[in-house]
């Protein structure tokens, strides 16, 4: 019966969403917020159960579509619990940050956020390819409407590009999924265990590698599949961008770990080189473009491309150091980027602009914001004792073992990251106030609490990253073993 904990974390947001849809206005805001907090508590309970019982007892499996051999198979592993925690921790924070904002059709807005959370958690829990795909797509629909309906200028066009781009990747992945299914032995199945026993030729694995890579690369995004990302982040409402960058892109990271590795294990290392190069280009490219941005949200978007590029490098270098780094950095990046988007929203709603050059002197008007912003920023540039540091350190040192020149190149991004982040901070927060920032008001309670929660996480996981390492170290060695075992397949 312990798997009820898993199911409740997965389905609670959907249940809450139904109530939110049925309510209206302020009431739906309150229900959503309470639901978010409950969801966080549920995820903590699941964490405790996971530590106590391990993954096996938390697994839930039942036949779903007999004619296709699809199982409703969900479970949790070390990587999964980290992602689930991230999603459940960020949910109440994102909800709280919008608490004092006027939102039209609030019930639909909050309902969609909750639905999306469920779908994303489903992606992190699915042990069946079709189930994974269903959750993967189900997460896309709510965010499409969130960004399209509540977004800013040009929203219809921008979100449509995002949508078509993502769907393009997904549908090729769907073909790959069905192809894998057709190749499974005996009673065909989409199940994770069946996939581990696949016998595919090198050529098949190479095709599958790239089909899955495309879907995950678009989601992350890895250069050159990133073109949807900056405009979408800038146009979507900040809570939408926070969900997209904070949690949704981790679906790509997780998909690579859970599915790309086992399916293309024999050809992984030979194909990964190209992927590593693309990811590394993204690291530098994102950082260089971030230097030049005047729109604060676009700056976050490009810096996110850079950070995620580093995560992707780690995913495809794939040794024990980098993979541990991938998990730590995914967690940290999610928290930091959500913090930054909340700050972007706070500034934009008060001043009506996101242009860095038009702002200044906010420190004197809102010292609280200045301090919290600084902490989050330091986390994002990976200062020691903040959450960004351990992940980035592991990623860089792991990459160094793989290829020193590559490590040096992507290491540049850390320095550039410090440059653009601190430059932005200086322009926005420090200096003299001007006509636009004159009337800047101090943080409201809800905004303050949500930022403080993020800052606590920034520092806590900077001081004690071992917590996350303990959760996932076994799985990390499992992943490494999976792809380094050069089993020659026979067919």
């Amino acid at each position: 019966m312990n798997n009820l904990f898993t199911l409740s974390v997965l389905f609670f947001p959907i249940l809450a969403a139904l109530f939110v849809f049925a309510s209206s206005g302020n009431l739906s805001k309150k229900i959503a917020l309470v639901a978010g907090l409950v969801q966080f508590l549920l995820s903590l309970v699941l964490l405790a159960k996971y530590q106590e019982l391990g993954p096996l007892l938390l697994e839930f499996k039942m036949s779903w579509i007999g004619s296709l051999g699809v199982n409703f198979h969900v479970g949790i592993d070390g990587a999964g619990i980290i992602m689930v925690l991230l999603a459940s921790f960020l949910l109440p924070i994102i909800l709280l940050s919008t608490y004092q904002k006027e939102i039209k059709n609030a019930n639909a807005f909050y309902g969609l956020i909750l639905l999306m959370t469920s779908a994303m958690i489903g992606v992190f829990m699915a042990y069946d390819l079709i189930l994974f795909y269903v959750f993967w797509e189900a997460a896309l629909i709510p965010i499409y409407f969130i960004a399209g309906y509540w977004g800013g200028e040009d929203r219809a066009k921008v979100t449509f590009k995002f949508f078509i781009y993502t769907i393009l990747g997904s549908l090729f992945m769907l073909v790959a999924i069905i192809y894998v299914y057709v190749q499974t032995a005996g009673n065909r199945s989409f199940d994770y265990t069946a996939i581990q026993h696949l016998h595919l030729t090198m050529q098949e694995q190479t095709w599958l590698f790239w089909a899955f890579f495309l879907a995950f690369a678009i989601k992350l995004p890895i250069f050159p599949f990133h073109t949807w990302q900056p405009t979408t982040y800038a146009t979507a409402p900040s809570s939408g961008s926070a969900l997209l960058s904070g949690v949704m892109l981790k679906m790509g990271v997780f998909g690579i770990l859970r599915w790309l590795y086992p399916i293309s294990k024999s050809v992984f290392s030979s194909n990964a080189d190209i992927a590593v190069v693309l990811a590394a280009i993204g690291v530098v490219y994102g950082a260089v473009l971030a230097l030049k941005q005047d729109d604060f949200k676009k700056l976050i978007a490009y810096s996110s491309i850079s950070h995620v590029g580093l995560i992707a490098v780690g995913l495809f270098v794939a040794n024990e150091l980098t993979l541990q780094g991938v998990l730590l950095q995914s967690f940290a990046h999610g928290i930091n980027v959500v913090g930054l988007f909340i700050i972007a929203e706070i500034i934009e709603s008060r001043t009506g602009t996101r242009k860095i050059s038009e702002l200044g002197g906010i420190a004197s008007k809102s010292p609280r914001l200045a301090i919290l912003f600084l902490i989050i920023l330091l986390g994002s540039v990976a200062l020691p004792l903040t959450n960004g540091f351990p992940g980035e350190f592991l990623l860089l040192s792991g990459t160094f073992g793989f290829n020193p020149i590559l490590a040096a190149t992507v290491g540049l991004s850390v320095i550039l990251g410090a440059v653009y982040s601190l430059r932005a901070y200086q322009h926005v927060i420090l200096g003299e106030t001007n006509a636009i920032t004159e009337k800047f008001t101090e943080l409201k309670t809800s905004e303050f609490i949500s930022l403080v929660a993020i800052c606590i996480a920034v520092i806590a996981f900077g001081v004690y990253p071992q917590f996350l390492v303990d959760l996932s170290s076994e799985d990390v060695s499992g992943f490494v073993k999976l792809i380094s075992s050069t089993s020659i397949c026979v067919k």
Partner: protein, 458 residues
Amino acid sequence: MESIVILALLGVFLMMSGLYSISRKSAHWITIGGVFAAFLANAYNWEYKHAVFNNMLIIDNYGVAFGGTILATTLGLLLVSTYFFDKIENYVTEHYALLVFAIVGMLCMVTFDNLSMLFIGIEIMSVCLYILAGSKKKDVSSNEAALKYFLMGSFTTGILLMGIALVYGATGSFYLSEILRSMAAHTEPSPLLLAGMLFLLVGMGFKVSAAPFHFWTPDVYQGSPSFVTAFMSTVVKIAGFAAFFRLFYICFTPVEHYWLNIVWVMIVLTISIGSITAVRQTSVKRLLAFSSIAHAGYMLITVLTGAESADLLFYSVAYATASVVAFGVLMVVESETGSDEISAFAGLVKRNKSLAFLFTIAMASMAGLPLTAGFFAKVFVLKSALLEGYNYLVIIAIVNAIIGIYYYFKVIIAMYFKDNETNNAEITVSGLYTVSLFVGAALIIILGLYPDLLYQLV
């Protein structure tokens, strides 16, 4: 057989009742009742295989399943038909009668075991449709549709008949089982038989609007009244496919390497032409017409892979349900705004939330997004294609699916993210109408969550 008798009697009764100025409402409900009775009679034959009419029809599970789909879809359409029948000034009951007779033809098409029954079935259906297509008598495009449909239709009927004659000449029988036996007796099929088969392929291809025999479809679908368009693009198409599948899978499997490649090319053309042309449409009705061509391509894949008639059944039901809901909404918007352009859908969410939501579900299912029936319909079809090794076909199909998502979402964008400049008045729809559409939408979701309900039935 009972369902055919019930419907034939119902048709005659409706035709006669025109003489006695029966009220519109009672004609409507009598038709619905009669079709429902036929549905029950049809379902009664489940798991009871028998031949009727001198073995000319074989009532098997295949026929019952497709017959049931046809009758249920008709019922759904009748429940959302008020915008059509209320606008007809004279001879309302005759329209109902034509509709009912068309179904009689279709029931023959899904159960035939004799080529003459196939022909008779197609003719009964087609003649009724020629008239229905032109039922807006004073409307030019409706007349154009009827004439075009009639001319093209009778031409291909000729080809179909020619094919039947040639097959008869080669094998000496109209019965599918006899034809099969005669083919087995020869190692090499005779040229006469192959020519006949090719003619049948062309004839059936026309009826299901597969490229390159699809040219009549867009104009006829657009010109006909929306209700008739909905009827043609769902029920008629399903009947056509059921007959196509039955004919080629019972009868022509021994010579399959002669026609599989042709069907492969037809599929690629149908899917690609359907979805690429749909992109440029500004009228929702025409868009649905072209998308129905694309869907015909996906359904044709089941004819190619053959093994699973359940694939075809599931795809048909998923497509029909989504179409009924989509056309149901379209008819409301059309009668409110007088236009079927995408711009007429702009800001629909502000005018009636339920309609926008229903249309979104229908579009999502047609686009094949998960949690809708359309998703599993595509998965089943693509799975069978990959099992048979048609890898390139699947790639082509999926590229077209992406294009499909593009145009389906154009309407969704208009409904949710754009404002209507001309009119923002709320649209009110009768309770029964909305409920019927919601039942359709619920069916889409239920089949999207648990496809086995239908898939394991056959």
